[in-house]
Structures are given as C-alpha cells and as structure tokens.
C-alpha cells in the first residue's frame, strides 16, 4: 500500500466511524465502509490504522473491553472537525 492509499484508508475508516453518530463501531462495521480491495486487509492491519487515528486524537475506544475482537471505536470532536476540514462531514 502506497502512502496515498494509506491516507485514503485512514479517511475511509474515520468516515465510517463518523457515520455511527457517536456510537462505537466494531471492526466488522469498519470493514463495511471500505472498498472491496481494502476489505481483504487483516484485522491487525486495520487495527494499526485505527491506532494511528487514536494517536491523532480522532478516534477513541468505546467502553472497557477485555477481548480485542470485541473492540468498538467512536469518533471524537477532533475527528469530526478534521473530516469537516476535508469536506467529508
């Protein structure tokens, strides 16, 4: 994946999480918002990009979970502001 594709992937993940209107989105939900070729990515690869968005302050983990497979992520105010500046919200 080249840098442009990676940037696009991050934006798609953020846009998908934003659609949940404040609710947390699980990994399967995030995958639904990706084009077919990106849906093939491993959970670990997608989690790494979600972690990047967390580090940027755009996304937060929803609630307390023990199992990684049950994680859900929700958008932060900063994430919504960023999408707005990109013309995506």
């Amino acid at each position: 994946m080249n840098p442009k594709q990676r940037e696009n992937l991050r934006l798609l993940i953020l846009s998908t999480i934003n659609m949940a209107r404040g609710y947390g989105v699980p990994m399967d939900g995030i995958r639904m918002g990706l084009p077919p070729q990106m849906r093939q990515l491993d959970d670990d690869d997608l989690r790494a990009e979600v972690q990047y968005l967390i580090d940027k302050g755009f996304v937060a983990l929803e609630g307390k979970v023990i199992s990684p497979e049950n994680r859900e992520w929700k958008i932060t105010a900063e994430g919504r502001d960023f999408l707005a500046t990109e013309g995506l919200a």
Partner: protein, 190 residues
C-alpha cells in the same frame, strides 16, 4: 483548499443524494443505460462530472450511511424506552445496551427486538431474584428470632424447679417434651 473528489457527492443536500441513488437504481431501458452510467449521465447534464469509481463509492457510502443512521436512531429509541421503563437503571448501563443495539443493527447480525426482550426478561429475572433474596432474608430473620426465643425460654425454664424436674426425670424424650409443653403453654399446647 481543493475539495476531495469523493466529497463532491457526499456533501450534497440529502434530497440531491436521494435523487442520485434513484438514478443509480434505475433499470436499463432503450432510452438510457440505467444504473451508475445513467446516474453519471444525469449528473453530467446537471454540470457535475464524476468518475464511475467516485459514483460507485458514493452509492456504497450512502447505503452504509443510511444503515448506520437507522441503527443509531433505533439504539436511541431503545435507550429512551429503557430509561422510561426503568428510571432507576444506571445511565451507563443504558448507554451500554444502546451501544449493543447499535452494533446488532449496524452489522445486521442479530434481531434487536429479541435482544430488547431478552434484556427485559433479564430485568424481570433480576427483580424476581431480588424478591427471592428478600424472602430468604425474611426466613433467616424468622429462624434467628425463633432461636433467640428458644434460648430465652431455656434460660427462663432452667431456673424453674418444675421444668428441671421434668427434664431430669425418667420417661422417654417424647414424654418429657409433652410434659414440658403442657407446663410451658398450658391449654395452648393442644
């Protein structure tokens, strides 16, 4: 800042987006190609030029947007209902249930109505459990009161010469109980 190509359609007013989706769902006829190609033609006629991939991505995005929006709306309704029916329920618990409803609806991996019914059943069971716990507590208190009463009676009657005579006298255990009962409760013993 130059707007992203995929934001052209995503930021259009809702009714305009609905129109694009309607075009994209149009069947092919002799007059027009139908589907995405038809939607693209119509947009171009309106002065909005987009690629097929942008249009395709928009259609997927719109579908997911609708799905998530419906899921969030359903979750909000359930949360409101739960809070109304169970005013004592912790807001954090309601929020968690609403999140579960959202996830079930958004992923279409379950029946939210079943989930809500199960939650109500669980609440009812919790309530029944509370009642059973209270009953157990009442029984425990009654037993304790009986034990205290027995001890009081023992202290009272151990100092009584007649009772001591019966207890220490001959006769079977049943006969002693009968005699003590009559001595203690008189006519109430029968």
């Amino acid at each position: 800042m130059k707007p992203r190509s995929d934001s052209k359609l995503k930021t259009l007013p809702e009714e305009r987006q609905e129109q694009i989706i309607a075009w994209a769902r149009t069947q092919k006829t002799e007059e027009h190609p139908g589907g995405l190609a038809y939607a693209r033609e119509q947009l171009a006629a309106d002065g909005l030029k987009v690629s097929m991939s942008t249009l395709s991505e928009f259609v997927s995005w719109y579908g997911l947007q609708q799905r998530f929006s419906k899921a969030a709306s359903r979750a909000n309704q359930v949360a409101e209902l739960l809070q109304q029916r169970n005013p004592d329920m912790e807001p954090e618990h309601v929020r968690k249930l609403a999140q579960s409803i959202f996830t079930l609806e958004a992923l279409d991996s379950g029946d939210a109505d079943t989930f809500v019914n199960l939650e109500h059943l669980k609440l009812a069971q919790d309530s029944a459990q509370t009642k059973a716990d209270l009953e157990r507590q009442k029984i425990s208190i009654s037993r304790q009161r009986l034990q205290i009463l027995t001890c009081e009676k023992f202290l009272e009657w151990s100092a009584d010469a007649k009772a001591r005579e019966i207890a220490e006298g001959s006769g079977s255990r049943a006969e002693k109980i009968e005699a003590l009962g009559r001595a203690m409760f008189a006519e109430d013993w029968d």
